[in-house]
C-alpha cells in the first residue's frame, strides 16, 4: 500500500517559516495570502500482506504517533492507497 503522511504544526504553535513565506509572497505580486504554515510530507510503502485495511491504517497511525510526528507540536493525517 502506498501511504502519504502529512505533518503540520499544531494550531497555536508559532511557525516562523510560514510567517516568512507569507511576507515574501506580496513582494512577488501575490496578494491576499494568509495562514501560511509549513509542514512535512512523508511517503512510504507498506507491505500489507495479511493485513486488513484497518490494521494497515492502525500501523500507520502508530508510526505517526511514535516517530513521524511529535504530538506535542504537530498534527498528522495520512492517506492509504489500498489498491496499490
Amino acid at each position: 500500500m502506498n501511504v502519504r503522511v502529512y505533518i503540520t504544526p499544531k494550531k497555536g504553535i508559532l511557525d516562523p517559516q510560514g510567517v516568512t513565506i507569507e511576507r515574501a509572497l506580496p513582494a512577488l505580486g501575490f496578494a491576499g495570502v494568509s495562514g501560511v504554515r509549513v509542514g512535512k510530507f512523508i511517503e512510504l510503502s507498506l507491505d500489507a500482506d495479511g493485513l486488513s485495511a484497518e490494521q494497515a491504517r492502525a500501523q500507520v497511525d502508530e508510526m505517526c504517533r511514535k516517530l513521524l510526528a511529535n504530538p506535542i507540536i504537530e498534527d498528522f493525517t495520512f492517506e492509504v492507497d489500498e489498491g496499490a
Binding site: L14, N70, I72
Partner: protein, 244 residues
C-alpha cells in the same frame, strides 16, 4: 567524616552518530579532580555503572525528521530511561536536551528558533532555582555566562504544563540580560518565558540548551561558569554516597 580516599564519581557521555560535543563534555569532566568519565556508545545496552549520564550536543542522526527524534530510540536510551526512573542523574545538553524531550523524560518540545537563524553567541543564564542537583552550586538569581549554538532551541510547552512546571520549580535556567532581566533581546531563540533549562518533577533529569562544557576553564575565553553545573552533580553524588 572522611573514611579514606573518596572514590571517583563516574560520568558517562553517550555518543550518538552525529554527536559532536561529546569530546568537549568528556574533556570538561577530566578537569574535575573528583570525577572520572567514560564514553557510552549509543548501541550499548548498559551504562557500565556510571553515576551520572551526559547526553551531549551535536546533530545526532543529522537532526533528521526532528532533532533527537531518532536518537531517542537508540538502544542505550532504554538503559538511560531505567537509570532516570531509578533516580539517576541525567543531564542533556543542547541536542541531549532535545533527545530527552523526544524521549518524554522531560516535558515540552523544541521548535526552530523564531529568527530562523543558527545562533552562536554567549548568553546570560539566570538561575531560577538552586534546588536541583545541577544548580545547587549556584545561588538563586545568579547569572551564568555560557554559550549557545543552535537552530532549534525554541522551547515550548502548553499553558497547563508551563503553569505546573512553574509551580513545581521545574524551570531551572532562563535567558536574561546582564542585569538579570528576562528581556526579548536576551532570548536567542524565542523560547517561551525565556526558558533555557528545565528539570523533571523528580529533579534528577535536566536539560539545557546552552553548553556548560565549553565554560570550564577560567583561563580560556569561555570562562568557567559552566563548572558549577558539573560540580553540583559531583557534590550531590558524593553526598548521596556519604549518606548511604
Amino acid at each position: 567524616m572522611t573514611t579514606g580516599a573518596q572514590r571517583l564519581i563516574r560520568f558517562g557521555v553517550v555518543v550518538f552518530p552525529g554527536s559532536n560535543c561529546d569530546t568537549d563534555a568528556y574533556h570538561a569532566i577530566t578537569t574535575f579532580a573528583g570525577a572520572g568519565v567514560d564514553y557510552l556508545w549509543h548501541k550499548d545496552t548498559d551504562l557500565r555503572g556510571v553515576d551520572a549520564v551526559i547526553l551531549p550536543g551535536g546533530f545526532s542522526y543529522g537532526d533528521y525528521l526532528r532533532c533527537g527524534a531518532i536518537a531517542r530510540f537508540s538502544p542505550i536510551m532504554q538503559a538511560v530511561t531505567e537509570f532516570a526512573e531509578a533516580g539517576g542523574l541525567v543531564i542533556g545538553i543542547c541536542n541531549g536536551f532535545q533527545i530527552l524531550l523526544e524521549a518524554g523524560l522531560l516535558p515540552g518540545a523544541m521548535l526552530r528558533n523564531t529568527g530562523l537563524k543558527f545562533v552562536c553567541r554567549y548568553v546570560n543564564l539566570r538561575v531560577e532555582t538552586a534546588d536541583t542537583p545541577f544548580t545547587s552550586a549556584c545561588r538563586e538569581g545568579e547569572l551564568l555566562r555560557i554559550v549557545v549554538k543552535h537552530n532549534e532551541g525554541n522551547y515550548t510547552a502548553d499553558p497547563e504544563t508551563l503553569a505546573r512546571m512553574n509551580e513545581n520549580g521545574q524551570i531551572v535556567l532562563r535567558y536574561a540580560d546582564a542585569r538579570g532581566r528576562l528581556t526579548p533581546e536576551a532570548n536567542p531563540n524565542g523560547a517561551v518565558e525565556n526558558i533555557a533549562g528545565v528539570c523533571n518533577e523528580r529533579r534528577n533529569v535536566f536539560g539545557m540548551m546552552p553548553h556548560p562544557e565549553n565554560s570550564v576553564e577560567a583561563r580560556l575565553a569561555g570562562g568557567a561558569d559552566g563548572r558549577k553545573i558539573f560540580q553540583a552533580m559531583i557534590d550531590s553524588l558524593v553526598l548521596q554516597e556519604a549518606t548511604r
